[in-house]
């Protein structure tokens, strides 16, 4: 009654002018996020279901997300100018965003398969992990599509907040909780820097929309660009943190070591991919004109990441920590491609991100299975004689480590080749030299693990025998989901290592663009 009287008193208001929405473009994002929400709802009703059901469902939803991209990809590569934007230019629609959406969705699918066996072994409760994975991936997809700095920030936070919880997911393990809180504190710290950067850029250019910012910068000569440059610096700090570039890498070893291994697989692949999506769209694309200002900074970040990542990895005795440092050096390699700031560099980065996802998920997949109950047996000694306990796991890990080292006939070789040749094209010779040195140092590290697995004698089962599961003779059971995920990763790494053409072609077609939505598109949207 009251409401009706109030409504009657109200003067007729004009309809609010809402932006046109092209729902098809948002389909991958909607499938991922709505899928996650639905799973959470069903999980609270159907408590008796086996946790494998949720793993399969999460895998299916992620694959559905990836499949939805196919018609969109056809549409965007159909003609030269089909890239566009929607939702008042806040969401970009181009090959770049679609490519990374697939990378993120596949990472979720593979991590979900790994998580099934892990949860059962650790005796952890059901579907929250999958829900959080999918929520986080939805944030990553928002970042890949973001055409507006505020949208980018929201995506980054959705991605990160879910991952903070995921890192602390193993509720009975102190290391996991410590990893979660460390990641949270440093993550929130870096998000604040990122946000301050957005505020500065907004102050300097008068908009948070990337298209408007680019148009503004093209049309205007700033008398005083201090505000803009401060914005660059602060945003780069925030993003460098997310992709674990030196000197913003301090969280990486601790978090990778403490967090559950399937979660680390996701963090190393999808979170990195989303972070680089933001770096490329904001810096390479929007601030193209100011590249002489940001390129040197990325150059230094790349060199530091390459050197610190590969040299500090050598002195580690914990394999998870070692792979954490190696992921820092991989971030350095990807930054080498970003620094080139050319179309070729971007294609090399996309290729790198796609194939690196499979190698790193595979590596952490093997670690998930080999870690034993408690996910603790990760010191180099625990990997002695892995080839005897589980020849298949040792073989798979060998392939992944060869690929990470960049040995020919694996995808890692072409990935490294791509970024280094992009750097040489852009005449950054010293950077290319440092990248190659880092690759050599890295090769030593990976070979060390491989030698330990295959040739080191497992000195005594007494020391390992304390935990009961790491004895020499006992073969390791590989859960079905993890087995499939590792097999897929091996296949991708080997097949596309011999024949990189298809991924390379896709990466070259996935050009990032900033195109405002046209009147024609608005018509279709309405």
């Amino acid at each position: 009654m009251i409401i009706q009287t109030l409504l009657a008193q109200q003067a007729p208001v004009e309809a609010i002018d809402t932006p046109a929405i092209d729902w098809a473009i948002l389909a991958p994002l909607l499938i991922m996020s709505v899928g996650g929400i639905l799973m959470l709802t069903f999980a609270s009703i159907l408590k008796t279901l086996s946790s494998s059901v949720w793993s399969i469902a999460a895998t299916m939803i992620s694959l559905a997300t990836a499949i939805t991209v196919i018609p969109l990809w056809m549409r965007v590569t159909d003609t030269e100018n089909s890239a566009t934007s929607t939702l008042a230019n806040a969401v970009a629609f181009d090959g770049f965003s679609l490519f990374l959406t697939v990378v993120i969705a596949l990472s979720v699918a593979l991590s979900a398969m790994l998580a099934d066996g892990y949860l059962k072994r650790e005796g952890l409760e059901g579907p929250e992990l999958y829900v959080l994975l999918m929520m986080s991936a939805a944030g990553g997809i928002i970042m890949a599509f973001a055409n507006d700095l505020i949208v980018l920030f929201i995506g980054l936070e959705i991605l990160s907040i879910a991952v903070y919880v995921l890192a602390a997911m193993h509720t009975r393990k102190l290391e996991s909780q410590e990893a979660g809180i460390k990641y949270f504190v440093l993550g929130a710290f870096s998000s604040a820097f990122f946000l301050y950067g957005i505020a500065m850029i907004y102050g300097a250019t008068g908009s948070t929309n990337l298209i408007d910012i680019k148009n503004f910068l093209a049309a205007t000569v700033l008398d005083d660009d201090a505000l803009l440059l401060a914005g660059f610096a602060l945003m780069l700090v925030g993003l460098a943190f997310k992709v674990a570039a030196v000197p913003f890498h301090f969280w990486t070893p601790d978090v990778y070591q403490g967090a559950p291994s399937p979660v680390v697989a996701y963090m190393a692949s999808a979170v990195k991919a989303a972070g680089f999506a933001a770096i490329i769209r904001v810096f390479v694309l929007t601030f193209e004109q100011y590249r002489t200002d940001w390129q040197p900074v990325v150059y230094v970040l790349a060199i530091l990441s390459l050197l610190v990542g590969s040299f500090l990895a050598i002195v580690q005795t914990d394999v998870k920590r070692m792979l954490a440092y190696s992921s820092i050096s991989h971030a350095g390699f990807i930054l080498v491609g970003v620094q080139a700031a050319t179309e070729r560099g971007v294609a090399a980065v996309l290729f790198y991100l796609a194939v690196y996802s499979f190698m790193v998920i595979g590596s952490f997949g093997v670690l998930t299975v080999a870690g034993g109950t408690g996910d603790n047996a990760h010191s180099l000694d625990d990997y002695k004689g892995l080839s005897k306990r589980s020849p298949l796991l040792a073989f798979a890990l060998m392939i992944f480590l060869f690929s990470q080292a960049g040995i020919p006939l694996t995808t890692g070789f072409f990935a490294k080749f791509g970024v280094i040749s992009a750097a040489i094209d852009a005449r950054s010779f010293w950077l290319a030299v440092v990248a190659m040195i880092s690759a050599v140092v890295g090769a030593y590290l990976y070979l060390r693990v491989i030698v330990t697995m295959f040739f080191a004698e497992d000195d005594d089962s007494e020391e390992d025998g304390a935990d009961g599961e790491a004895t020499t003779a006992e073969p390791i059971d590989i859960p079905l989901g993890a087995g499939i995920a590792i097999a897929v990763c091996v296949l991708v790494t080997v097949v596309f290592g011999v024949w990189p053409g298809p991924i390379d072609d896709l990466a070259r077609e996935a050009i990032p663009r900033l195109v405002a939505e046209s009147a024609a598109v608005l018509q279709i949207g309405n």
Binding site: A168, V185, Q257
Partner: protein, 101 residues
């Protein structure tokens, strides 16, 4: 003396620095969360000040998004602290040292 937008920007930079330094030197997780909040709200002040200077509503709109994000972040952070303090009596950042290398 007229108080212009720049005053607010300087205040916001000062608050942001206090938050950042506080986060680095304080050891109590709760105080560290408060410092994060201080940093985010300093940025909010910047957004409003810039929006005022530019005569643009987007700066104020951004603040709403940031507030929501900040709230979500603290919810997760406090949950993590509770989870950790259930397992041990005191929780300062220096106690979190299982992971090192």
């Amino acid at each position: 003396m007229e108080i212009t937008a720049n005053w607010y920007l300087i205040l916001s930079a000062a608050l942001f620095s206090i938050g950042a330094i506080g986060l680095l030197i304080r050891r109590n997780p709760l105080v560290m969360f408060m410092c994060v909040e201080l940093m985010l709200n300093a940025v909010n002040l910047s957004f409003v000040a810039f929006g005022d200077r530019l005569g643009d509503i987007a700066g104020q709109v951004s603040v709403f998004f940031v507030l929501v994000v900040a709230a979500a972040e603290v919810v997760v952070g406090l949950a993590l602290v509770v989870a950790i303090s259930r397992r041990r009596a005191t929780t300062t950042a220096d106690d979190l040292s299982v992971l090192r290398g």
